[in-house]
């Protein structure tokens, strides 16, 4: 149910008149949060910024949900990359030592291999993800939305007992 709600909301957002930039921004921020272990200072900051600004929150949470699974798959890659950066790249050792001695350092968990690996990957891919998602939203609205709405799959889903039951429960007056 939770997953269906997510997908449904996200699709609604894609169809709505909201700016593609804000939706793509939310998606990118969600990508950054979802990729790394949640409880870090940088993730909390990103979330605060998203709440305080007009970034689309549905796309943010959708991206967190999706990229948490992606992160699970790529976890060993992040660990290896993080270990290389933190422990094997001697030239960065003084920098890490300086950061490690800063008062806020423990909250960022930058010295964790998975946090470091996923953060680096996230930062490197953030801009391409933003561009790709923004152009994807525009294209979806222009070309794919009507086709998708009329597709057999969507009709089958909408016609299913499960979906109808979900809609009934969702629209119940409490």
């Amino acid at each position: 149910m939770f997953v269906l709600q997510f997908i449904s909301k996200f699709l609604k957002v894609l169809r709505s008149g909201e700016s593609p930039g804000l939706i793509a921004g939310g998606f990118t921020m969600g990508f950054l949060i979802g990729l790394s272990p949640f409880l870090t200072l940088q993730n909390v900051l990103i979330l605060f910024i998203a709440i305080l600004t007009k970034i689309n929150l549905a796309s943010l949470f959708f991206a967190i949900f999706i990229f948490s699974f992606v992160a699970f798959v790529f976890d060993p890659v992040f660990h290896n990359l993080g270990y290389y950066l933190l422990a094997q790249l001697d030239s960065l050792y003084p920098t890490w030592t300086t950061i490690f001695n800063m008062p806020v350092a423990p909250f960022t968990r930058f010295n964790n291999t998975v946090v470091m690996g996923s953060l680096l990957c996230g930062l490197l891919l953030a801009f391409p993800v933003y561009l790709f998602s923004r152009s994807g939203i525009v294209r979806y609205r222009e070309n794919w939305a009507p086709k998708f709405e009329n597709s057999k799959f969507v009709k089958a889903v909408k016609g299913s007992t499960l979906f109808k039951w979900y809609i009934r429960v969702r629209d119940l007056e409490w």
Partner: protein, 623 residues
Amino acid sequence: MRTKGIIGLLVVVAIIGAVFYFLSDKFIENTIEELATDMLGAQVEIDNLDFSLAGLSISMDRLQATNPNDTWKNLFETGRLAFDMEVAPLARKKINIKEVTVADIRLGTKRQTDGKLEKPKAAEEPGWFGDATAGLKKQVVEAPVLNLGILKKKVNVDSLLSAFDIQTLRKIDSARKDADATFNNWDKTLAEFRPQEDLAKIAKDIEALKAKKVSNASDLLSAAEKSRGIIATLNALKKDVAAKKKAATSDLRRVSTIFSEVDNWLADDFNSIKAKANIGEFSAQNIGTMLFGEVVVNPVLQWLGYINMGRKYMPIAQKFMASGKVEKPPRFAGQNIKFPLLNNQPEFLLENILVSAATNQDDTSHVLSLSGEMHGITSQPKVYGSPLTFALNADMPGSNSYNVSGELDHTGEEEIDRFRVTATGVRLGNIALPEKPYLPNRIAADTGNITATLGLVGDKLDVKIEFKANPVKFDFADAGPDNSSVFKMTRSVFDSIDELTFVAGISGSANNLSLKISSNIDAILAERIKGVVGESARLARSEIHKKLVQQIAPRKQAALTFVSKNKARITGELDRVEQSIDEQLQVVNTKLKEVEAEINNKKDQGVKDVKDKLKGLFKKKKN
């Protein structure tokens, strides 16, 4: 800006803040109470703890720690306490408290409730403390009992010996069996070793060599070659015999050594019988341990318990740098890489505790002043870099004074812990002694002086306690097992003593501690005991020894004869073989020398012949 978002965030922050505000005090109070209770092994309670987030300060109305040995009393109880925590270390989950001042501390106050733990503290893991406790308690328990009454009765030596399993006889039998097996083994080895056949063949070769006529150089060289071959064979044989002789000597020596222990076995049996009949020698050392063993060991174990707690919560080894890559950490867990902290601080640090208190402040002539300091209480001594030190003083003007100081140095590779206690003019009152026949069960003393030092380096313990009390009076529970002359004698000894002094020492590794206690009573009491019961005990001991020797001597003699006979036989056999080889070797060497001399003669004769022929040739040419 999203107005709703800001409001939502503010609401969330406000709720978290409110929850923290209302629950933090109780949470911190419970956490500290649980931790301290676990450390002490009895209830530790805090009243009205207040945590202020603004200044990161903590205050409490009262802290009371139960005495684990008497749970209806407090070890200490404080008045209001307040201290501040350092802000920066908290970011790293480190608690750093600069100073706590305890201005109103009371010792041994009565509790409203029993401070006993509902769930008893889990048993300690086996380690040095367990070893030391078991070892010292065993020595106290095994201290001999002054059971002198038995000596009044005639000791029936025959029935005593018949009921006693004499170990020496068993050991002699076992040693004889072992010797028998060793001799059989050598008999078998010597039977399989047949150098006589080799020697006979060699003798034959030598005879042939002697008989052979040597007419030319070729014969000579052949004879020399043969001689050398015989010598090589003989040398190999000799080497083999020497090796066998060496092994035999070692085996036979072992057998002899076992039998040389017979007298020690007999002594052990004799001591066991004496202990069983309770007619052992009463040394001064025994008396000290009998009387004051428990009195000395119990406080020492209490101090060791504190050290054990210190070692548990202030461990020496700390590893900070990651030792290597963790290949497969759990998903999303990763591996934390540690970097050096430029201004590293321990996880928990209470730098200074200052204690000052005074009792009966209305009457300054009878005020007991208490003051003390404790520095460097930390969970990571190596990071902090300095040992925990403490010094506590309590004194009343013109009366008693106490001084306890020490240090727990866990900053190096090995723990070094030291305690020093000095108490002068201590009002002792009644000191309970363990219930033992013929001995007092209580000392009533006026005042006393105590000096004690305790050092524990790794698991090596060194304790020295000096005690002096004056005047003292010894109380006896009743008239003793009987109102005998022995009892009257021991009582008269204790009645004559007005001052008690003793020196106790405990030293050695935790698993092998030696407890020694000597007091001014020891020598007097030992002398008097010897005087009263010495003669009858001596006679009984002498008879036991005589009968024991009578039983053991024949079997010992038979075993020794058996060993000596077989030993001589095997050694003689090997000597004979060795001698025979030496003789043959001598003969061959002589023959070899003869052959070599012959070769040299022949060589000289040949050279002379050539010279003569050359001279003859020159003469013919001249003519």
